[in-house]
Structures are given as structure tokens and as C-alpha cells.
């Protein structure tokens, strides 16, 4: 039987294999050495360097962090992920977290960490930069930008005259199967929490069940709703205001349009993105400086042009073509509830049957 084994092929492959192994082990060794060296240079607890966990996009945040380093001489290392994942990471890391600052897309993740005493109390000079409704009342976090909830619709499928006046009208049977929602998404959950806060548990449950009875199609997130409405897959959808502005920038021929609910409607909630300094941080002052920087006039204008979000620093102009934030009932909403009450909201959403 040995004759069937072709010894030549064994000899052929051997040098190749050895070479491969040698190359790979060299690469591995180099990497280990390189990363070990990297560790040493980071050692020390000086405030000349801070670590930021950012739930906001790198393309947007990185230039701002660079500007911050230039202005203050404080180096910034940044880690980017979804806000919920980073909150989960901070929870798991506990007191050993390397993070000094957490920038979050949604107040929910901030509220959760504040509830677990993971966030440091900020100087009221920083939280006072924004209107009182846009920061945590216990000063554990501060809002940076605002996003408005809207109804995006396909202008080829929907006659503007048929649009609802209030978000509560969407349970009308005439909208059956037409209004897409993202029940698993953070901003939808924040919106439902606000509704619980404003209208109470029963009215919210009734609305959710009405939307479920209306067979509201599900999408995983805001951007998927805007894309699907643009294609004509859904007639309408509940999203944040800037997704459609973004889609139009990418492709001006898209036929999706934002419909704004009246300023006093629960449908037109302002959701803030925010930032906080970690309780476990040993560079809390430098971290607070970064938050202050993000609320400076120039950084706020950069947010406006970069994301078309609302600036929260009074005096900075809102994005062009958008209704002014004044008059919206945003500042009456209790953001603590948006964080702490999120678990209850998720349970309410799951029980309502709106999830398909």
C-alpha cells in the first residue's frame, strides 16, 4: 500500500509549508513585540491623554477630536461602536474601564449607566451650557445635539393631504400596512418612553396595539426605513429627521420627504445625543474639557453641517430648511425616564405585538 503514496508530492509541499509557517510566526512575533511596546508608551495616568468611547460615527467625531487635541494638547484615543454595545462594554469593564468619556447616540444608554453610578457628576458650568431639559438633572451627562422625530413618506405614493396631523392618528385603519416602524431601534424606544411619560402607560399601550393591528411593517433601523420608503416598499415610516436629509444628499432623485408633526405633538419629540465622563476615569478634568469643547460654537456648527442635527448651544443656527427647535415641547420631557424607563418600554413594545 505504501506504493500508492506519492513521495514526490510530499517532498514538493514541504518547503512551501515550512516557509509559510516561518513567515506566519515571524509576523506573529513582530505583532506581539509591537503591541507590547505600544502598551509601555501608554502607561501612566497623566491627563495628557484620554480615551473616548464613541457611539457616534468616526468620520464625524474624529475631526472634532483632532481639533480638540490641537487646542488643548490633550491626546485622544477613540473607540467606535454602537452606543448600546459601548455601554455594555463599560458595564463589563467596571472600575477597570480604560474609557474616560462616553459619547452616546441616545439618552437611553447614558441614563442606564447613570443609574448604575458609572458616570461622574459634571460641573454645572458645563451642563448649564444647554437648556435645562437637555441635560441630566443630576448633572451626570450633558446633551450635545438634538434629533427630531418625523414621519418620512414617499411623495409618489402619498398625497400630502392624507398625511396625519398627530402621530396618534396613525392607528386609523386608513393607514393599514403603510407605516413602517423599527421597534428594536433605540430612537423608536426613546420615542415610546416619551409617550409613556406624556400620555401615560395605558394610552401608550393602546397606541402600540393600534399600530400592531394596523400591520405596521418592521425594519431593523431608521436608515432601512428611509431606504425602503424611497424605493416605494413602504408608503411612510417613523424615523429621525436627518436620515432622509442624508439620503437626499447621497442621491437627490430620491422621492422620500420628511413630514413634521406639530410642535406640541408627542410625535415630534427631540431626542438628544449626549456625553458623559466616567466615574472610574482618572482624567475627569480632561474629559470634562472635551465635553465643553463639543459644546463650543465651532464644534456645534460642525455638527450642524456634518449631520444636519440641531445644535444644543443657544445662538448656533439650526440646519437650513428645518423648523426651529423653539416651540417644540422637548424641554418638558424627563430624560431620566428615557434611560431608567427603557426596560419597561421594551417590555411594553414586546407585549403589544407590534414586532413582527
Amino acid at each position: 500500500m505504501l506504493g500508492m503514496l506519492n513521495i514526490n508530492s510530499v517532498v514538493d509541499i514541504l518547503p512551501a509549508m515550512t516557509k509559510l509557517l516561518r513567515t506566519l510566526s515571524a509576523v506573529l512575533a513582530l505583532t506581539l513585540v509591537a503591541s507590547a511596546c505600544g502598551d509601555d508608551s501608554d502607561a501612566g495616568d497623566d491627563a495628557s491623554s484620554i480615551t473616548v468611547y464613541s457611539g457616534r460615527d468616526q468620520e464625524l467625531i474624529e475631526p472634532l477630536l483632532d481639533a480638540f487635541t490641537e487646542a488643548t494638547g490633550i491626546d485622544v484615543e477613540a473607540k467606535y461602536d454602537k452606543s448600546a454595545n459601548l455601554a455594555l462594554l463599560i458595564q463589563t469593564e467596571g472600575d477597570n474601564s480604560p474609557a474616560d468619556v462616553f459619547i452616546s447616540q441616545s439618552p437611553g444608554a447614558l441614563g442606564l449607566l447613570a443609574g448604575e453610578d458609572r458616570l461622574a457628576t459634571l460641573d454645572s458650568a458645563i451642563t448649564g451650557l444647554v437648556d435645562s431639559g437637555f441635560a441630566a438633572s443630576d448633572n451626570t451627562w450633558v446633551g450635545i445635539t438634538g434629533r427630531l422625530r418625523v414621519l418620512v413618506y414617499n411623495s409618489e405614493l402619498v398625497d400630502p393631504a392624507d398625511l396625519p396631523i398627530s402621530v396618534l392618528d396613525l392607528v386609523d385603519p386608513k393607514y393599514d400596512g403603510q407605516v413602517a416602524v423599527a421597534p428594536g431601534n433605540g430612537s423608536f424606544q426613546d420615542f415610546v418612553t416619551a409617550m409613556r411619560n406624556e400620555l401615560g402607560e395605558d394610552a401608550t399601550r393602546e397606541w402600540l396595539e393600534g399600530m400592531a393591528a394596523n400591520n405596521s411593517p418592521n425594519q431593523p433601523k431608521n436608515s432601512a426605513i428611509v431606504e425602503a420608503v424611497g424605493r416605494g416598499e413602504h408608503a411612510m415610516g417613523l424615523v429621525n429627521h436627518y436620515y432622509n436629509l442624508r439620503a437626499l444628499e447621497a442621491d437627490p432623485s430620491v422621492v422620500s420627504v420628511n413630514h413634521f408633526f406639530p410642535t406640541n405633538d408627542v410625535g415630534s419629540l427631540v431626542i438628544v445625543t449626549g456625553g458623559a465622563v466616567l466615574e472610574s476615569s482618572d482624567a475627569q478634568d480632561a474629559g470634562a474639557q472635551l465635553l465643553e469643547f463639543l459644546l463650543s460654537e465651532s464644534a456645534q456648527s460642525d455638527f450642524v453641517t456634518g449631520t444636519q442635527e440641531y445644535p444644543l448651544l443657544p445662538g448656533v443656527a439650526a440646519p437650513e430648511g428645518l423648523p426651529s427647535l423653539e416651540g417644540y415641547t422637548a424641554d418638558t420631557i424627563n430624560y431620566e425616564l428615557l434611560g431608567d424607563g427603557l426596560r419597561g418600554t421594551i417590555e411594553l413594545i414586546q407585549e403589544s405585538g407590534i414586532e413582527q
Partner: protein, 536 residues
């Protein structure tokens, strides 16, 4: 042919160093599982509330249903495609062989998005077909969409090991059967499939485990499996998420153990290298075969690549001035290098780590070997985020390990823990390919253990090991959740770039990233794996 078959494990005592090595490996792989158990205790999970409810059983049922159906369809497609490209005279064999493993590298969230953009109402396909009156395309959401996406992007888990098996399998049995007048189908069914059964099982198992741990496709398609619920509950309802993770881990372990005990009874045929492989003439089946292969790879690779190409081209030709929406190939160079580096190192390390366990289980009857093997394989079924969090937790327990936190070696360890199973299955098959008597003969002639390993056994195992290394490399290159959580600050891979571009709706940059990922993985798979498999 009786002389070519090697009996299964025998009752020899395994060498102590090998046992120790397997024990340590098993303990390391136990980490994520132990974390899940500990968290459940710590959170005081009330199992009567988490496990014995419809809210858990329904997603579990969906996970199992999706996992089984995807495993079956992938087994059929993977085996069929492997046989066509390796054993027949199908036109364009060389091209098929390079393309076939590549769908594995398309991240499921990107693949699902491409499929939706192509087939959904108002999508690209409808735009193309509507002039000829076709507007009602089948709905791709829910189970159907998830099943399709996962089948199209995971069948290489079956294809690669089975193709490697065919490439090194002696054609003599097949030849004899054909000479005796058996029809090609009968030969395929009675000779080819039984000979490669262990590879087909190994691959299907990987498909099953991957499917129940996948988040991207089920999230995008709106099919609520256990893993999807674990992700959505992990922050605000950790007790439920951890309870469900435990359920998922236990289910995976059960399936792995059941498969292994069934696998003992399967026919093992030793692999004998052959310089001139059998080529089955397809005759009048030639063009239907081409059509079938095109249908699979058209949907799994060419279609998505075309969609990505269209969007990239649109972005590159009409540059968008809006910040964040620009399309720039230059931004992808460093991420591409990082992706290649982590993919290669992880693949080599994974093989080195699991080989002792594979050797132990293939050569000896050993409880330690079986237990270690089960731990490695089950690690694949836990969602990436759970693996990552478990490492965060364990590493930060000690100051010494803590200094490795958020460094590249730790990220690579996470990849090895998550994807080691893909190498262990292949390694097991590869060890089975080494005739025992060969080592005995060399030992009689005075060759030392190390020398025997490097001059005889390793070369014989090379094709199987490389197939496993290829799977690990492709999976690592597309991994997202663990990469994002564990990577050093500022460390970007193609996968994180694609995700980040998608989050800011930069469709063109997202597509360009996906194209680069496909091209890079194609080159690496060819250079490192395929080129070195004999007769491939």
C-alpha cells in the same frame, strides 16, 4: 481497498504531553461558556422565567429550524459544487474553484442588504425587469430571506473541506464503480458521498453552528432567532440575554456531542495522494451543470459584487462633497492590511492550537480529547458579542492579563476562541488522512517524533489543515462584533469600515469596502490555501 482504510480510534494510551496540551486548550476554550454560567449565577437569573417561557422557546425553535434548513441546503450545494469543480470536466473549472469559497467572506449584514436592495419592492432587479412586465418579486423578508442569505454565504463551510477531500481522495473506487457500469448518479450516491461523509458532516455542522450564532442576516431580514434576542436584550435585560446565551450554548453542545457519537460509526477512508485525479465527463449534462453552478455563485458572489460595483462606481464617478459621504479607496488601505494580518495570524494560530486536540480525538479514545473538542466546537455557537464580553471580563480579573486589554493579541485570541472550531473539524479529518502505519514504519527506521511530524505527517495533513485555515481566515476577515469591542483604539479593519460607512449611509464607500474585502480574501485564499492543495 481494505488495506487503505484506517480503523477508528484504538484503545492505546495517549501520550501525557498530548493530554496536557488538550486539557489546557479545552480550559481556555471553556472561558466564554464559564462566563455565561457565572453571569447567570451573578444576576440570579430566574430560569423558570427565562427558559420555560414561550418568549424563549419560540426564538429557540426558529434558531433550530433555520440552522437545520440552512445546514441541509448548504450541504447539498457545497457537496455538489465541490464534486463538479474537482471531479468533472465542467468548463471553466479553474475559475469556479477560485470563486466557490469566496461567498464566505461577505458579512451577512452586508449580503442581506445587497439582496434586499436587489430584490425588494422598487429594488434594482425590479427596475431591470419592470420594462418586460415582471413586477411581483417574491418577498425576501423573514425566514425565506434569512434562509437564502445564510445558505448563499455559508455553503463554503461545506464546499472547502469537501473539495479538499475530493482533491486528495483516490479515484480508484469511483473508477471501478464506473467501469462496472454504474450510472454517474449511482456512483455519486454510493461511492463519492460515503467516502466524503465525514467532511460533509463537519461542514454542515459548522453551517448549523454559524447560523444559530448569526446576527446580521436575521436582524436585517427580521427573523427573530435566539441570537437576535440576545443582542437586543443584552443591555437592558441582561438576565434574559444571559439566560438565553446559556440555552444557546447548551443546545450547541448537545448537537455537537450527538453528532460526534453518530460520527463514530461513519466510514473512514484514508486519503491517498494521486497525481492524476479522475475527471468525470459530464457529456450532455455539461451545460445544465454550468447553469447550476452559475445560479449559485451568481447569487452568492457575482450578484452582490455587481451591486457593490454599481454603487461604488456611482460614488467614485460623481464625488459627493458632503462630509462623510465621500468615496475614497485610499481610506481602505490600512484597514485592508490590518484585515489581512489578523486573518493570516488567526488562521495559523488556530491550526496550531487545535491540532493537538484533533490528533488526540482522531488517534486515541480519550475523554479529555472529547471534552476539549466539544468545548472548541461549541464556542462557535455563542454570539460574537458574548465571546468578546467574556474575554473583557476574564482579562480584567488580573492585572497581568489586564495589560493586554484592547491589544491585538487579545483580539486574535477572541478570534481563535470563536473560530477555532472551524479548524478543529478540518484538522480531525486531516489527521484521519495520515495512515498510522507510515509513522510506525518511519519510527522503525529510527526517525524521531518531531522529524516524523514535520517530514511525514504534516505534509500529508496539509490539504485538510489548509482548508480549515482557509475557513478560519475568511471568518476572521469579516468578523464584526468582537472586533469592534476588543480592538485597540484606532484599529480599523475592512469589516469595521464597511459597518461604519453603512451607519452614516455612505452606500458607495460601504460597497467599495465590500468589493475590497472580496478581492483581498480571493487573493489570500488563492495564495495561502487553494494553490497549496494538491490537484486543486
Amino acid at each position: 481497498m481494505a488495506g487503505g482504510s484506517t480503523p477508528g480510534p484504538v484503545a492505546l494510551k495517549p501520550p501525557i504531553p498530548l493530554l496536557l496540551l488538550a486539557l489546557v486548550t479545552g480550559l481556555i476554550f471553556l472561558g466564554p461558556f464559564a462566563y455565561v454560567v457565572w453571569r447567570n449565577i451573578d444576576l440570579g437569573t430566574d430560569f423558570s422565567e427565562v427558559i420555560w417561557t414561550r418568549e424563549t422557546w419560540e426564538p429557540l425553535r426558529r434558531s433550530l429550524w433555520l440552522g437545520s434548513t440552512v445546514a441541509v441546503s448548504s450541504a447539498i450545494i457545497g457537496t455538489g459544487l465541490a464534486w463538479l469543480t474537482i471531479r468533472t470536466d465542467i468548463p471553466g473549472r479553474r475559475v469556479w474553484r477560485i470563486l466557490a469559497p469566496l461567498p464566505l467572506v461577505i458579512p451577512s449584514f452586508v449580503g442581506a442588504s445587497a439582496l434586499i436592495a436587489a430584490f425588494a419592492t422598487g429594488g434594482l432587479v425590479e427596475e431591470i425587469l419592470s420594462p418586460i412586465g415582471i413586477t411581483d418579486l417574491p418577498d425576501m423578508k423573514g425566514f425565506r430571506g434569512a434562509w437564502l442569505v445564510l445558505t448563499l454565504f455559508t455553503f463554503p463551510y461545506v464546499y472547502l473541506p469537501v473539495a479538499a477531500r475530493f482533491a486528495s481522495l483516490s479515484p480508484s473506487l469511483e473508477e471501478s464503480a464506473r467501469l462496472l457500469g454504474r450510472s454517474p448518479w449511482t456512483v455519486f450516491r454510493t461511492v463519492v458521498v460515503p467516502q466524503s461523509a465525514s467532511s460533509i458532516w463537519a461542514g454542515s455542522m459548522l453551517v448549523f453552528l454559524y447560523t444559530i450564532s448569526d446576527w446580521g442576516a436575521v436582524e436585517r431580514m427580521g427573523y427573530s432567532t435566539l441570537t437576535r434576542d440576545i443582542y437586543s436584550d443584552s443591555l437592558f435585560n441582561p438576565a434574559r440575554a444571559m439566560g438565553m446565551s446559556l440555552v444557546l450554548g447548551v443546545v450547541a453542545l448537545t448537537v455537537v456531542v450527538a453528532e460526534r457519537s453518530l460520527g463514530r460509526r461513519r466510514l473512514e477512508v484514508s486519503v491517498v495522494r494521486s497525481r492524476d485525479p479522475l475527471v468525470v465527463p459530464l457529456g450532455r449534462w455539461k451545460w445544465p451543470a454550468v447553469l447550476g453552478a452559475s445560479a449559485v455563485l451568481g447569487n452568492a458572489l457575482v450578484g452582490p459584487a455587481a451591486v457593490f460595483g454599481f454603487w461604488s462606481w456611482r460614488g467614485l464617478s460623481a464625488s459627493n462633497p458632503t462630509p462623510g459621504l465621500q468615496t475614497d479607496l485610499g481610506d481602505l488601505v490600512t484597514p485592508a492590511l490590518n484585515t489581512a494580518e489578523t486573518g493570516l495570524i488567526t488562521a495559523a494560530l488556530a491550526i496550531a492550537v487545535v491540532l493537538p486536540v484533533a490528533w488526540l480525538t482522531a488517534r486515541y479514545r480519550s475523554r479529555v480529547g472529547d471534552a476539549a473538542n466539544s468545548m472548541i466546537v461549541a464556542g462557535f455557537a455563542l454570539p460574537g458579542v458574548v465571546i468578546a464580553l467574556s474575554l473583557v471580563f476574564w482579562v480584567l480579573q488580573s492585572p497581568i492579563l489586564g495589560s493586554w486589554y484592547q491589544t491585538l493579541p487579545l483580539l486574535i485570541l477572541a478570534y481563535v476562541l470563536h473560530f477555532g472550531s472551524q479548524a478543529t473539524r478540518a484538522a480531525h479529518v486531516a489527521v484521519g488522512a495520515v495512515p498510522r502505519r507510515l509513522g510506525d514504519a518511519a519510527a522503525t527506521l529510527g526517525a524521531g517524533r518531531i522529524r516524523r511530524f514535520f517530514t511525514i505527517e504534516l505534509p500529508l495533513m496539509a490539504p485538510g489543515l489548509l482548508a480549515g485555515a482557509g475557513l478560519v481566515m475568511l471568518s476572521t476577515m469579516k468578523e464584526l462584533p468582537a472586533t469592534r469591542l476588543l480592538s485597540p483604539p484606532g484599529f480599523e479593519t475592512l469589516s469595521t469600515e464597511i459597518w461604519s460607512a453603512g451607519e452614516r449611509l455612505a452606500l458607495a464607500q460601504e460597497s467599495l469596502g465590500a468589493l475590497v474585502l472580496i478581492a483581498l480574501s480571493g487573493m489570500l485564499t488563492w495564495a495561502v490555501v487553494l494553490r497549496r492543495i494538491d490537484n486543486y
